[in-house]
Symmetry: C2
Subunit: 189 residues, 2 copies
């Protein structure tokens, strides 16, 4: 038998892919079982309920998102460049063929009203992202009020791209972010 840590990872990864592609409620635990190659009995010994698995999947997504963002901003040397790298990261994501919007927003729309654990996990991820942006804004020497504006742009780009099914929202959001940065720090600085 594979060890507990690996089994957990297999289940979370399989559930993540299925949940993201079809929506959480449209995926049964049987489908997770089949995709992960882990018996139902085992899954329920690792997670007390589907709700708990959903939260684990969201936490996993948070890690993937954070590390993806970190990688995308590595080449940047200034805070301004790191801020704009967020939108380049979004652009690359939107172009992936299986892009279906922000999993956190989608899951919140599905279960935010009925499961506070899910709502909390989603809120936590958005809060973390907001703090990341706030740090970059401070590094750029811009007023703190700029940070939530940039976060809202990123958020809006994700839902717009998801619904329209096209990636150009990333470009529009990036252009708006540049204008806001220029206005806040003085152009071309």
């Amino acid at each position: 038998m594979i060890d507990e840590k690996t089994a957990r990872e297999d289940v979370v990864r399989a559930a993540d892919e299925l949940f993201y592609a079809r929506g959480v409620q449209a995926v049964g635990m049987d489908a997770v079982r089949t995709a992960a190659g882990v018996s139902l009995k085992r899954i329920y010994s690792l997670f007390a309920s589907k709700d708990e698995l959903i939260v684990a999947v969201l936490r996993h997504r948070t890690q993937v998102w954070d590390s993806g963002l970190a990688t995308a901003s590595e080449p940047a040397t200034t805070a301004r460049e790191r801020i704009l790298a967020i939108f380049d990261f979004l652009d690359a994501w939107f172009r992936e063929p299986d892009f279906r919007g922000c999993a956190f927003i989608n899951t919140h729309g599905e279960l935010g009203a009925s499961s506070t654990a899910v709502a909390d996990a989603v809120r936590e991820q958005k809060r973390t992202f907001g703090e990341y942006v706030a740090r970059l804004v401070a590094d750029a020497g811009a007023p703190a009020a700029l940070a939530p504006q940039l976060a809202i742009l990123a958020e809006g780009a994700q839902t717009t791209a998801a619904i329209a099914g096209t990636p150009e929202a990333a470009h529009h959001a990036r252009a708006a972010a540049e204008t806001l940065l220029d206005a806040a720090t003085g152009p071309r600085r």
Copy 2:
């Protein structure tokens, strides 16, 4: 027996409230029946399936949104004021006690992957809103590229407010819109 038009309206209005408050999939047709006071048999003579009812609800929401926006922008005399009125409208909406985010975004997250009819209805509403913003931007004498940026701000404010559970995203988005308007048309014009 009440006439067909009234029965339809009763069902759509009841379903709208339930779907918005709890999510579409969490509401059974029995709950719609009880809330609307219309028998299941009648409901299924008015709508071929739950999917069709969902689409009707989304169309109804579109009308409510459009007329609400029109009312909110009535006092405005310039295109710039009408644009900013969008964010005041959002602010008032976010403060309503039963605000739970944009119904179109929520429903898209729930069913966009499995029902193309739902995805189309959502896309249609976002397209209409985008055109409304584009008209205002043209009236304001600003470059067309500003319109999608403002639309993304409005979109992002809605999801941010829904997830955070607080209304301040409307204020942030409005401030960003002002900055973008100033940059596009020259300040204080």
